[in-house]
């Protein structure tokens, strides 16, 4: 599946996670066509794409987003203990 690369349309703390998931875990990223939200598509395509906030958001929003990524099979943080 073709993927876009995350740019300034998403906050930095999200960009880092998206880049890792694209490069290391086979996820895909879709920039919005028009004014919508970008989408992060799980490597397991049976899982729903996750919307990505476009503006800097609260720590709780980032937490909820990361929890959703883990729920859909993504790994973050990637480091081994």
């Amino acid at each position: 599946m073709e993927t876009d690369r995350p740019g300034r349309e998403v906050p930095k703390e999200y960009r880092e996670v998206i880049t890792y998931l694209i490069e290391s875990e086979g996820w895909a990223y879709k920039r919005p066509r028009g004014g919508g939200y970008p989408k992060l598509v799980p490597a397991n395509r049976s899982q729903s794409p996750i919307k990505v906030p476009k503006t800097p958001s609260s720590q709780r929003t980032l937490s909820n987003w990361l929890a959703d990524i883990r729920r859909k099979g993504g790994h973050w943080p990637p480091e081994r203990k």
Partner: protein
Amino acid sequence: MRTVSGAQQEQEEREGVSVMDWFSVHLETRAPTAQAPRVLAEDAAADRLMDLLAGYDGIVSADAGSWDATISVRAPTTSEAVLKGAEIIESEASKAGMPRWPAVRVEAVLQDIVDEENARPALPDIVSAPEAAEILGVSPQRLHQIATDNEAFPEPVYELRAGNLWLRAAVEAFASRERKPGRPRSAQVAAG
């Protein structure tokens, strides 16, 4: 719009009377079997739901036959967080024009616990045969023998063409058990 304002929260915390905690509430819906996966949750509706849930730290996922959302709410108990969170998500989803599919899962987790879980590395710490041999202080050949002959040795979590992989914790636990003094010689891991 939040149900509890930041100012109210600050006042509660100053007075030390807060009995409300933050919870992360996740609700998942699925289209009835007869519809799925032909029915698609409209992308524009999912975007509208993201906007409507922004004040609740919301995140939305949507695809053919299912959609889900996660928000943060303040509530005195987990069960009240489930009810409150589900009500907010369903109400806002209706306004956004999301499909009215039945909820198949609702869960509330203390936000602190979510943060702890998010901070923990999600990939298991695994080791190959040379690393497992190093943990046991034996040669790779001896490791192979132990893995084959000793029933107490952990099962590999992956069996690849390139070799087996084990959980590091399982190999370390085996090593510490086998190094205990006083075990019968036949059960000990003797360096090969």
